[in-house]
Amino acid sequence: ELKVEQNPLFLSMQEGKNYTIYCNYSTTSDRLYWYRQDPGKSLESLFVLLSNGAVKQEGRLMASLDTKARLSTLHITAAVHDLSATYFCAPEGFQKLVFGTGTRLLVSP
């Protein structure tokens, strides 16, 4: 059974700082997705990582995938308040996505 662990679960950071969110998963998966969720809203797709070594960047966010280590990272560069949200990683297991518990990010001035 595919299990997903994200850490940290909660991250409070100041604007302008850098930080990394980690996503570990328990069994082989070659595809992993990152989503963002604002309070009371649905999930917005951020990144699709399809192979070992994949790296994607969009604005201040960069995601990477190491399938051998079963690890994905989401790196935040020079955080701004607009990035405050909950971030979920979701490796794919037999067509369905298995979500972590999420990392709640709060960026303050």
Partner: protein, 115 residues
Amino acid sequence: GAGVSQTPSNKVTEKGKYVELRCDPISGHTALYWYRQSLGQGPEFLIYFQGTGAADDSGLPNDRFFAVRPEGSVSTLKIQRTERGDSAVYLCASSTEHYSYNEQFFGPGTRLTVL
């Protein structure tokens, strides 16, 4: 283009009642998924349709839960004899299920409250 839509956005019902939740996927998407999200948790898989058939219903918690997609587009999630523990946000997602990736696009969800 239009995204995934779900109705109703909110549903309040009493314990023991029957409810139906509807999902309209993105036009042309062959795969449709239902997930359930409890407060403070990530979405949890319930069922996946490829076309009209349920390809994987392993996430349905018990036989009170049932879903259909009769024409391969709109899907309805049906919950019988609702219990307070069924209260959650029910999310629907759809994808094109390209052979090399399966990016799922989520609807706004239906918040179900069972009193």
